[in-house]
Symmetry: C2
Subunit: 545 residues, 2 copies
């Protein structure tokens, strides 16, 4: 007789369950803490993952001709999930192939990828100055050719010269220092100082291929066993749950308060931390995403001060995901880096351990494909720093174009530079348009029956809540999927719009959401809104209790 | 009383030793298997690592103000070592700073980095065609400008157009498919087919930021616990020992036979595998580096057939590091990919599980800073493939410039293209010069007292053996370092030449080596040889028994 997927899944983890049986008793509570994204309890914020497992396991053959099987790979890999490119997106890719092969076979003629913060894939043009500098540093041989002056702005040529000179031997094709080219780190540190009004040290900068590897580095450093935990917001960006799962740790969730605009409340942090500690779990770090992903909230400076004090008092590393620092759309809110907040409270290097993640993939530029980013690492002892450096050195260095771009993002054209006006216009247009799109989509969601949607104060997403009928929930159960997954797949099949089910980010058990980016081109938004509205009406009618 | 570094180190691992105490009894043998790079036994090929640990631990304070200390980070991070950017290189960087601050303070005026395969850092120019295409795809806005035709070759413009069209939405700044842009994978698959004469599937290609992340991905997939092991050559490229340590696995070494030109001998493989299996260790994969790093040997096709049969019979994944496939310097040897060899033996997808690693960092182009690479993954079941894809998707994609470059490397200019002649000239000059440099350095090493050096048939390194006197070994012991480390630090301080001690790669216990790249510019080689020769004479005289 075939075992069920859940049985197989349990079987896979028998060994670790046995090894740590005494601890697993503690986890049978209605609410977390729970092992990162591996909980089978229907009360965890990630419950729908159990459904996701039915797909890969259904095709398992016990007489596999292959030495590597799903039964004998690293169970941490099996545990890890990343819904942003998960089941719904795979379905969308198949639909796209189908549309190409059989035009007219679906009630839409294109797939609209609102699942991922990937602005240029939806038509956002790159910032000209950035691309000019990248092209020139990729092929420095043309820097002193006369034709170059006709093709590139004077300040791009000047900047490219400066950067090429900063790279030892002008070798833009060489491995750099493991932390990144020193001159580029100098530029970034200067940019941080200008942003914050407090000093930044280029030796604190570790440049990485986007922010994701930096997050992995920190999880790898901090997580020793599944008894080590990281406090993460719920909902969260699933890189965190995935990385914690891959490193064999434990995710302790704290819930953002949807009713107060996804507020981050210290009593909730304290409650969850204490609950975890009382079970003997070592909570090592606190992740804060500001501006929020998927929630779009921008923290107030006062709130940040309380968070800093909390992390300091509790001896937690503060992991500050600040990749959306340029994406703030409301005049009443402003981005403040946690380092600035901590320093303005008088806390120095020895008072708080703080890591800030930054990326070239977000902001107004959205250069996702360039994989540039860095972490600024403060408040670590010299010997731990040495270990962080050692791990960075195993991977040699991040890509130089990404390093260059990270330096440009932290040091864009200034008043008086030839590109300044056009740069500011490009930047301003993109940010203003993003703000308009966020508002239009937010309004549209709030007009739907049973849907409420907080404002996107920042970042690139809306995370509306959908109140689903019992009938819809039952239908999802029959389709062996989570209700939000059921809704999102229906939406995709009816409209070609790809959004990510809330279960991929975590949500208060019993509530259902989805994440939708604000990135489709502005002229496409009205059509999206009408397709979405029409679908939603039909869905609600079909499943009315 | 202060505890010794080794005591502290042991203390750190008490918990895992206790958990797995029954197994650790098996490891107390004179010869490996041994936990990756963590063995404290002086009979392991990595013995000198115990000395390296004295540095970070000597500065440890028990009353640290920081929540994260060397005592409470992930012990796997502590275990991992990467000598290519290790202690000697850190010393060199300090010397370089000192030279800048105090010119004339040392008996040399520059540091010569022969520690790492980083050709462009030592003056090797990039391949013009590759850089032209990169610049144009970075800034496609200039593709149809008339000035562009004066600056770039016609086939570079044409290729850039083709690539831009292959990228969905022409968005060179967007995240791509998690495995890489489909059109670029098509190009790579076609390049593999042309190289091998056997079909390649673009869906088997996973593009990565250099080859290192691909190696990590495989270790992460295969290693479940420290009872899982990977068969690695000794000497090996330390990425393997580092990655195995980081993933908590076990390195089972097989020794290359220095006397037969670093021969890879099946009986040795079999002996080590059986010894590991008899101890209950699960050996999951076999790493083969061809051309060899640090050894420079190029495997014969017959040898490769035996290796394929061995991996097949033993149910091991064959992890083929083929990043030096373009670097073969002797007419009697030719590179054959393991996939070609396996297919030519009639073995298909279901007969052998094979992963080939390729990188843009090596070859004649040496584009290390671009971080391009891929793995070609064959012989995995659909459900395992799905897991590999999932982990790739967590990191979104590798950098697009690196992806483009990987496609160019696998599809360079062809006869009749405008760039063909100049491309072939650039390529030929570099490869011919590398071959001359390898020979000159090999001859120079072989002229030194007590030194023997095998030929570099391929790759970028020589790995000479130095027979050190008892007096030198005693002096190293007094300096609390390994004898090869002692020699390399002396060499650095006397000449500014940076090489990596053999203990970083592993070596037969009691033998001492160092790795030296063949990459310094040709005109500098005579000076290097004379500095090296002079130093060596003095060293031998000083420590004559």
């Amino acid at each position: 007789m075939r075992r069920t997927a859940a049985d197989r899944f349990r079987h896979l983890f028998n060994r670790s369950f046995l090894l740590h049986r005494h601890r697993h008793h503690h986890h049978n509570h209605n609410h977390p803490p729970f092992p990162a994204s591996s909980s089978l309890s229907s009360r965890s914020p990630f419950s729908p993952y159990r459904f996701f497992f039915s797909t890969p396991f259904s095709s398992m053959a016990s007489d596999s001709p292959f030495p590597v099987t799903a039964q004998n790979i690293n169970p941490k890999v099996l545990k890890c999930e990343y819904a942003v490119r998960g089941e719904v997106v795979t379905l969308a890719q198949n639909l796209q192939k189908d549309l190409l092969a059989n035009p007219g076979s679906h009630p839409f003629d294109e797939i609209l990828y609102c699942n991922i913060g990937n602005p240029q894939s939806l038509g956002q043009p790159p910032i000209t100055f950035f691309r000019e500098v990248l092209a020139l540093t990729d092929h420095p041989a043309i820097l002193d050719k006369s034709e170059t002056q006709g093709l590139f702005s004077a300040d791009a040529i000047e900047r490219a010269w400066k950067i090429v000179e900063q790279i030892p031997g002008r070798a833009t094709g060489a491995y750099s220092h493991s932390q990144g080219v020193k001159g580029l780190r100098d530029t970034i540190a200067a940019g941080i100082e200008e942003r914050d009004g407090f000093p930044a040290n280029p030796d604190d900068i570790f440049m990485t291929d986007g922010a994701s590897p930096a997050v992995h580095n920190m999880m790898q450093l901090l997580i020793r066993s599944e008894n080590d935990a990281i406090l993460c917001p719920i909902p969260q960006y699933p890189l965190y749950s995935a990385s914690i799962a891959l490193h064999g740790g434990f995710l302790v969730p704290y819930y953002l308060n949807e009713a107060s605009g996804w507020g981050l409340e210290i009593p909730e942090l304290k409650k969850q931390l204490d609950a975890a500690k009382s079970k003997g779990i070592n909570v090592r770090a606190l992740v804060v995403i500001n501006p929020g992903n998927p929630t779009g909230q921008v923290l107030s400076e006062e709130n940040q001060r309380h968070i800093v004090d909390f992390a300091k008092q509790e001896g937690l590393v503060l992991l500050a995901d600040e990749v959306y620092q340029e994406n703030v759309y409301v005049p009443e809110k402003k981005f403040h880096s946690f380092k600035k907040v901590a320093r303005s409270m008088g806390y120095g290097e020895k008072d708080i351990t703080l890591v800030s993640f930054q990326s070239v993939s977000k902001g107004y530029h959205g250069e996702c494909g360039k994989r540039g980013g860095y972490m600024e690492v403060t408040g670590f002892s010299a010997e731990v720093r040495e270990q962080i450096y050692k791990v960075a050195s195993v991977n040699l260095c991040s890509n130089i174009s990404g390093q260059i771009l990270a330096s440009l993002v932290m040091s864009p054209p200034k008043v008086g530079d030839e590109s300044y006006e056009s740069f500011m216009a490009e930047r301003g247009n993109i940010l203003a348009s993003l703000a308009r799109r966020a508002k239009t989509l937010e309004d549209a969601f709030n007009k739907l029956e049973g849907v409420t949607c907080n404002k996107a104060e920042g970042a690139m997403y809306l995370f509306p809540q959908i109140r689903l009928s019992q009938k819809a929930i039952k239908a999802a159960g029959e389709a062996k999927t989570a209700p939000d997954n059921f809704y999102c797949k229906r939406l995709l099949n009816a409209t070609g719009v790809v959004v990510v089910p809330g279960s991929g980010f975590g949500q208060v058990p019993g509530t259902w959401h989805f994440r939708c980016t604000i990135l489709p081109q502005e002229e496409k938004i009205p059509a999206i809104v009408s397709r979405l509205t029409e679908f939603h009406k039909k869905f609600m009618d079909e499943f009315r209790d």
